[in-house]
Symmetry: C2
Subunit: 341 residues, 2 copies
C-alpha cells in the first residue's frame, strides 16, 4: 500500500513548517492568501486527508462505539445493531462490532480489546455463559472507571449503568391475555432456562396474566428449553403428549415456529386445537402456515435508544443517575391465534 500523504511531506515540499500547512488547510487567517492557496491545491491534488489515528490520539476521542453481542446471525440482534449504527452515524460515530458467541471468555477478551482506547463507549448484550456463571467482574472494572457503558436486552440489574430493555413481562402478559380471550385454558409456556433474564421476565408476565384471570398455574406446562440442545426434540415433548395444551406462548420465534411445525405434524388444527403465539423478531412468522401471531419487539428503537444513552454519556450530556429505558411491545395478531369461526 502506498503511504498516505502527510502534513510533513507537504511541508517539506514547500519548505514551510508543519504548523503552517496545518493552518493553511484549515483556512487560518494567520497564513497568507498565497501560501494557503498553493498548499491547498497541492493537498487537494494528492488527496490529503488527516490521519484519524493521530487525531484520535490527540483529541483523546475516537468517535467509535463498540458493540458486543452474543450472536450476529440473529434477526433481533442485527436489527438492534442497525438502530445503533443509524443513530451513531447521525451523531458522527462509527460502530465496531464484536461477537461473544455466548461465551464468557470471548466476552471478556472483547472487553479488553475494545476498552484500551479504541472506543469511546460500549453497548453490550450479555452472553449466555456470563449470565450462567454470574461473573460480572469485567463489567465492574469498567464501571469503577466511569467508562461509558450501556446494556441492552440481556442485562443485569445490579450493574450501575444505563440500560435499555424491552417490556418482556408486559409483552408476555398481553400475549397470555390474548390467548385467554380467544378461549384458551391450558396454556403452555416455552421459555428459556432461568438464568436468561428475558426468559424469566416473560415467564412473570405469563404468570401474572394467569393469576389475574383466575387460571391456576400448572408448573408442568412451563417448559424450560435448553438452547444448546436439540430444539425439535425438546418441543416435541410439549405437543406429543396425551393431553396437549390448547395454546402455546413461546419466548422466541424459533420455539414458536418449531411448535407450529410439530403441531401440524401431530395433525392439530391451528388455532382451533392449539393456538400459538411467540415473541418474534424475524421473518419466519409471516411465512409459516398459518402465519404466527407475535409479540413484536422493536429492536431498531432499542438500538437507537442504546446509542442515544451511550452518546449522551460520552459527551457528558447526561451524568450520574443511570437510566433504564423500557421499549414497549405490541401484539401482531395473525392466523395462528385468530380463530376464523
Amino acid at each position: 500500500m502506498k503511504p498516505r500523504i502527510t502534513l510533513k511531506k507537504i511541508a517539506s515540499e514547500f519548505g514551510v513548517s508543519i504548523s503552517t500547512v496545518s493552518k493553511a488547510l484549515k483556512d487560518s487567517h494567520e497564513i497568507s492568501e498565497e501560501t494557503r492557496e498553493k498548499i491547498k491545491a497541492f493537498a487537494d491534488y494528492y488527496n490529503y486527508k488527516p490521519n484519524s489515528l493521530a487525531l484520535q490520539l490527540r483529541n483523546q476521542k475516537t468517535s467509535v462505539i463498540g458493540v458486543i453481542i452474543p450472536e450476529i446471525v440473529h434477526h433481533f440482534f442485527s436489527t438492534v445493531i442497525n438502530g445503533i449504527e443509524q443513530y451513531a452515524t447521525k451523531k458522527g460515530y462509527n460502530v465496531m462490532v464484536c461477537v461473544s458467541n455466548e461465551s464468557y471468555e470471548k466476552e471478556v477478551s472483547n472487553f479488553s480489546v475494545l476498552t484500551n482506547g479504541s472506543v469511546d463507549g460500549l453497548i453490550v448484550s450479555i452472553a449466555r455463559e456470563t449470565q450462567q456463571k454470574n461473573d460480572y467482574s469485567h463489567f465492574e472494572g469498567l464501571i469503577k472507571d466511569d467508562f461509558p457503558l450501556v446494556l441492552f436486552d440481556r442485562i443485569n440489574e445490579n450493574l450501575a449503568c444505563d440500560k435499555v430493555i424491552i417490556d418482556d413481562a408486559g409483552g408476555a402478559y398481553k400475549a397470555t391475555n390474548h390467548l385467554i380471550e380467544i378461549g384458551s385454558e391450558k396454556i403452555a409456556l416455552l421459555t428459556t432456562q432461568d438464568f436468561i433474564t428475558v426468559g424469566s421476565l416473560r415467564k412473570e408476565g405469563y404468570l401474572k396474566s394467569l393469576r389475574q384471570n383466575g387460571i391456576e398455574v400448572d408448573e408442568n406446562l412451563i417448559y424450560k428449553i435448553d438452547d444448546t440442545k436439540d430444539l425439535y426434540e425438546q418441543i416435541k415433548k410439549v405437543i406429543f403428549v396425551n393431553n396437549p395444551p390448547d395454546a402455546i406462548l413461546a419466548v422466541n420465534e424459533i420455539y414458536a415456529a418449531n411448535a407450529l411445525k410439530i403441531a401440524k405434524e401431530r395433525k392439530l388444527s391451528i388455532p382451533k386445537d392449539i393456538a400459538i403465539i411467540g415473541f418474534t423478531d424475524g421473518l419466519i412468522s409471516e411465512f409459516t402456515y398459518p402465519p404466527l401471531s407475535e409479540v413484536v419487539q422493536h429492536g431498531f428503537e432499542m438500538g437507537q435508544q442504546a446509542a442515544e444513552l451511550l452518546i449522551k454519556r460520552i459527551e457528558q450530556i447526561s451524568q450520574g443517575e443511570f437510566r433504564k429505558e423500557v421499549i414497549s411491545t405490541n401484539l401482531k395478531i395473525r392466523k395462528s391465534t385468530l380463530s376464523t369461526d
Copy 2:
C-alpha cells in the same frame, strides 16, 4: 470517565524515565530485577494496558478491518460478517462494520471515514445504487494506492482487487436442472433487475439449463422484481394468471417465500401444481409449509474467504495477481419440489 494510567504516570511515580517503565513491563533484561518487579506490581495494581491508539499510530497498523455491506438486517450478510469476524479474530484483527443502506452516497462516505487510517483493509459488498449508477471512482481511488480491498457477492468485474463470489450461475443451473428432472416444463424465473450482478448471473444459469434440456426460453416467464416496490403485488402477477407456471426458481428467499404463500392463496398444490425453489440463506424456508427447497449459499465460508484474502494482502503474504474465489453452492431438497407420489 477516569483517565487511564499511562507509562508517563508510572514513570513519574517512581522517578524513572518512560523508557525504563516500558522496558520493565516487557521484562527487558536491561532493567534490574528490583526495578522491574516494583514497576510491574504497580502497573498491575492500576490495571495498566497500553493505549492501542498510540500503538496503532506508532506501528502504522490498526489490526482492524472495515466491512461495508448494503444491509445488516439480512440473514445472508450477517452470516458473511460472522465468517469475517471469526477469521479476523483468529488472526488478531477486529471488525468495524458500516452499512451503506444500498445508497451510493452512504457508501462513499463510509469509504472516506474508514480509509483515513482507521482500518488496514476493506471488505465490501456493493450497494444497489452504486451498481445502478455504475460509478466506482471511490473504489478506483483506493486501488490506485494499493489499498487492501476485497469485494464479495456484489462485485464488479472491472475492479482490480480480490473477489469472492458464490457460484451464482452454477447454483441456478443446478436448481433448474432439478426442476426439469421432477417434470417441470414451464419454469418461471423470479430475478432482480439487471444491474444487480448476482441476479443476472443466476439468470444465466437458468438459461443455460433450459437450453441444454431443449426447453425453449420464454421471456415472459422471466420476471424482474423491483426490490424498492411491493414484492407481494409483483409476485402475485406471476401466479394469478390464466396459465400459471408449473415451477418457480426465485433468486432469493423472500421471493420464494412470497411465491409459496401466493400459490397457496390460489389453492395451487405444491409441488404438484407448482414446484418452488429459491436461493435461500435464511430460516424461513425450513418453516414454510411445505418447507422450501433451496440453493444453499455458504455465507459463512464466504466471509472467511474474504477475510483470509484481505489479511493476506494486508500482511503482504499475497502480492500482485488478484484472486477470485468462487464458493460453490449445493441444493437442499425439501417438500416444495419433492413430489411425494
